[in-house]
């Protein structure tokens, strides 16, 4: 008897190719865990190491300081934030590369390029905007802007990777607006948005897709 063609296998292949060619699925939950952990660490360093205060309301601490002291604080905080950004980016590239390698997939594909482009445009726009805030000494708006542009980047990127990224983006956006309203508590919202939300996202994704 002739072998019957396996139609359910056909459907599975179609679905798999459709998904893999339109979404970048090598993004690892470990990236989120790592970035979240770093952000919490950096937030604590900023709060207890650099600002040395029990309060999250750093505006109050600043009014008693001299101009050079404030400048030195700013430089330390910026360095702290940039270090986290670089390490988190390096981590997410490393974990994605590792996951792609393990699954025998390529990391540089048309869809990963689209994902990168949709992330990079709002992030670069945000970086310029934040630079303007910094130069104009509007630095109470820096953390809210970071969270808002990060949120927008993730919302856009959600189309090209796991759809959960979209919801992480929404959470970051809301955190950003809260940080803009409660301006004194920037470090608290930084830890919440970049720390806990990334951490929670990473944990959920790792358990759901890699565990």
């Amino acid at each position: 008897m002739e072998n019957k063609p396996d139609y359910s296998d056909d459907i599975k292949t179609i679905k798999k190719i459709m998904e893999e060619s339109s979404r970048f699925l090598s993004l690892s939950g470990l990236s989120g865990l790592f970035a979240g952990f770093l952000a919490i660490l950096a937030g604590c360093i900023a709060q207890f190491g650099i600002l040395r205060s029990k309060s999250f309301f750093f505006n109050e601490n600043l009014s008693s300081l001299s101009v050079p002291e404030i400048t030195s604080l700013k430089i330390k905080l910026i360095t702290d934030a940039l270090l986290v950004l670089l390490l988190a980016l390096a981590g997410s590239l490393y974990f994605s590369y590792r996951k792609a390698h393990r699954k025998g997939q390529k990391i540089w594909t048309p869809v990963s390029r689209r994902l990168l482009l949709s992330l990079i445009i709002p992030l670069i726009a945000g970086a310029f905007f934040i630079m303007i805030f910094y130069l104009e000494s509007q630095w109470q708006l820096i953390v809210p802007a970071m969270l808002i542009f990060y949120g927008l980047a993730l919302i856009g990127a959600g189309k090209f990777t796991y759809s959960e990224v979209f919801y992480l983006g929404l959470a970051e956006l809301l955190t950003g607006f809260s940080a803009a309203i409660f301006q004194g508590s920037a470090i608290f919202f930084w830890i919440l948005g970049f720390g806990f939300f990334n951490l929670a996202y990473g944990l959920i994704m790792y358990r759901k897709y890699e565990g």
Partner: protein, 98 residues
């Protein structure tokens, strides 16, 4: 059951063609080399199946130059979308009836 099987499109019986259509239905356009990598097939094999799909007007070919290098990309036609959708529907109907 017989009706369902006869509604399967002969053009899509081949795995490579099924793969090409699956990629093109979710992407505006895709170039030759990326198709080759995604589907893991040889140049000749991919080219002959692309040709067959093109001749049946299920996909369109766009040739352009990127710098001085020629680049051939493919996109699905409206006919292609309709036929491929009904092929998937037919496959699903058969599986359900089994």
């Amino acid at each position: 059951m017989k009706v369902a099987i006869s509604s399967l499109n002969k053009l899509f019986e081949n795995r490579v063609r099924l793969g090409i259509m699956s990629v093109l239905i979710v992407n505006d356009s895709y170039d030759f080399n990326n198709l080759k990598e995604t589907l893991d097939v040889t140049d000749g094999n991919l080219a002959s199946h692309l040709k067959a799909l093109e001749e049946n007007k299920l996909i369109k070919v766009n040739k352009q130059f990127i710098g001085r290098k020629p680049n051939t990309s493919y996109s699905i036609t409206e006919t292609g979308v309709t036929l491929f959708r009904s092929h998937i529907k037919a496959l699903e109907d058969i599986i359900k009836s089994q």
